[in-house]
């Protein structure tokens, strides 16, 4: 039942949305986004414009509103103001082009499901309410598992996986959606080194297929290795742009304030200004 990643690429190509590579519209354009939990705004009037086929890290201190930004962009939390457009269209017309990977800790992994069941959830758009699962769907799901190196675990209950393995299952579910825009919330938080390598490889291969990746990310030391764009936020947008121009000591200090010691900044492999 195991498929090589080559077969997968063929399978993925054959039904890729026709518009996948030909877009000039921004995959994700956010204008004046404000979200509030209770009295104080979680994010305030944030603008962001994600480049097609880019790999963007959203960074900022704890409580800066990074996850909230993703959730508001997806309509999961209500926004007070602002507009979202996905490939130039309103959210509800473009949902099928987005794959979202929530934080691993946001779900109960004791849920009675096997790894393959979770990946199948990524095929919901194809399956709808009543379509039967056929061999085609199974092959697709297995191919996605194979791509994240988890095909041996298909029958395993999800609670019996390590944190890194669970994160890879979440990524496999997103792969099954075969989308153009991937929004991931801390996909590398608390995972082992092998998983980090696998996830980054998969994300880079998605980018090579002209898909767009946006990750909430917490490890400043790996930004220059993994990403080509950054969005720095702390309630408001501090800076956005290619890593070379936006990921600067100055912007980091504006974002993190005193929490980021200057000594720490010196250790980061910042792009030469």
């Amino acid at each position: 039942m195991q498929m090589t990643s080559e077969t997968l690429r063929v399978a993925a190509r054959s039904d890729a949305p026709p518009s996948a590579a030909s877009d000039t519209e921004s995959p994700l354009h956010i204008h004046g986004l404000t979200v509030s939990y209770g009295d104080s705004p979680a994010i305030f009037s944030v603008d962001a414009n994600i480049e097609p086929a880019s790999m963007t890290a959203i960074i900022g201190p704890n409580g800066a509103g990074k996850s909230t930004l993703l959730k508001a962009a997806l309509g999961i939390v209500p926004r007070l103001s602002g507009t979202i457009s996905i490939f130039g269209k309103p959210l509800n017309e473009a949902r099928r082009r987005i794959a979202y990977v929530p934080q691993r800790a946001s779900v109960d992994w004791d849920f009675p499901a096997r790894v393959i069941d979770v990946v199948m959830m990524g095929l919901y758009r194809e399956l709808g309410l009543l379509h039967f699962v056929t061999k085609k769907h199974h092959d697709k799901a297995h191919a996605c598992l194979d791509r994240v190196g988890m095909s041996d675990f298909a029958e395993r209950q999800i609670g019996q996986l390590s944190g890194g393995q669970q994160q890879r299952v979440f990524l496999a579910r997103a792969l099954a959606q075969n989308s153009d825009l991937y929004l991931l919330d801390e996909p590398l938080a608390g995972v082992d080194a092998a998983t980090e390598r696998t996830i980054i490889d998969v994300l880079k291969s998605l980018k090579a297929e002209s898909r767009t990746i946006v990750c909430v990310h917490h490890d400043l030391a790996t930004i220059t290795d993994y990403f080509d764009h950054v969005l720095l936020i702390n309630k408001t947008r501090i800076a956005q742009g290619p890593v070379e121009t936006a990921f600067t000591a100055e912007n980091l200090i504006s974002t993190y304030g005193g929490r980021l010691a200057t000594a720490h900044i010196d250790q980061l492999s910042l792009p030469a200004a």
Partner: protein, 312 residues
């Protein structure tokens, strides 16, 4: 096992099985969503709703009772929200306060009103009147093929059968979105599943099951069946579809064993009278849960990774 059984025991048995299954099915999802208390709350607030409906119409009839129960459920939800927001109390406590208060209010109303002419008192609210669902028109097994006799089946049976069918159909239709939104609500939202409507629908299904089961089997069975069979079933398997199947088996088993034990058990121990079937059914479901905790294959999921690793 002839005419007597068909006339006296068949209807209560079927009623018990159907009521148990109707409650256990939505109970699976309520438990997985950590909302088991909602089932508890619904089964309690049904009482004041039904009493108010009776006081307004002066008769025990289905639709006013259903509406009364639905009205009480809405009142309870509003009350829970109000307590949560105004009192800044955590949801579980707000729910607990609301449904015990409303149930107590229902008991008071019941005591103050003249319900002596109908089957509506505190005892029935708790235990129902399972044993009184006698199929007078039945002669023996052949009555099952006799339209005239079938027409005289107690109406509660038809009602609960209809409700059970509706719940099974709804579950089959919305299986995938229910599974996805129960496991990962944010993800379900991101792919456009209307999670708010689904979770409202689930509570409505639970409320319908509770109301349909209430007048025949009482609130004890309803509360027990929302929780015990699904909780025991979760310990039997790590797959959702199998968990649902196990919960149906456990619910039906509780109903059948409970009914038999209640009718004959005390006699085996030399006692004179049978005990309440509803009470015994709920007890059996608790015993099944206890046994599942002790012996079921997936009871200790913390230790599972090592074991699973050794197998593969």
């Amino acid at each position: 096992m002839g005419a007597d059984f068909v006339q006296l025991s068949l209807t209560p048995l079927l009623m018990g099985v159907l009521a148990s299954v109707a409650c256990a099915l939505p109970g699976n999802f309520l438990i997985l969503r950590r909302q088991a208390l909602i089932g508890d709350a619904i089964s309690h607030v049904v009482l004041p709703g039904i009493v108010v409906a009776f006081l307004l119409t002066g008769a025990i009839s289905t639709w006013p009772m259903m509406l009364g129960a639905a009205g009480a459920a809405v009142a309870a939800v509003v009350m829970i929200e109000a307590i949560k927001r105004l009192g800044r109390i955590e949801p579980g406590a707000a729910m607990g306060v609301s449904f015990t208060t409303l149930f107590a209010f229902g008991v008071l109303l019941l005591e103050q009103s003249d319900t002596s002419t109908v089957h509506l008192d505190v005892e029935h609210a708790l235990y129902g009147n399972l044993e009184s669902l006698i199929w007078f028109a039945a002669e023996d097994w052949s009555s099952l093929a006799d339209p005239a006799a079938l027409a005289n089946l107690p109406p509660e049976l038809g009602r609960i059968a209809f409700v059970t069918l509706i719940i099974i159909a709804g579950l089959a239709l919305f299986w995938r979105p229910l599974e996805i939104s129960t496991f990962d609500e944010a993800y379900a939202n991101s792919i456009g599943i209307p999670t708010g409507a689904l979770s409202f629908g689930l509570v409505v299904a639970a409320a319908i099951a509770a109301v349909a089961a209430f007048d025949a089997v009482g609130s004890i069975i309803v509360i027990a069946m929302f929780i015990c069979p699904p909780a025991a079933a979760r310990l039997m398997t790590n797959r959702l579809d199998r968990q649902i199947a196990w919960s149906v088996v456990f619910a039906a088993l509780s109903a059948i064993l409970g009914y038999v034990f209640a009718g004959y058990g005390p006699l085996w121990f030399g006692a004179e009278n049978a005990v309440s079937a509803a009470g015994m059914i709920a007890t059996v479901s608790g015993v099944i849960l206890g046994l599942a905790c002790l012996f079921a294959p997936h009871r200790s999921r913390i230790a599972a990774p090592a074991e699973a690793g050794a197998q593969s």
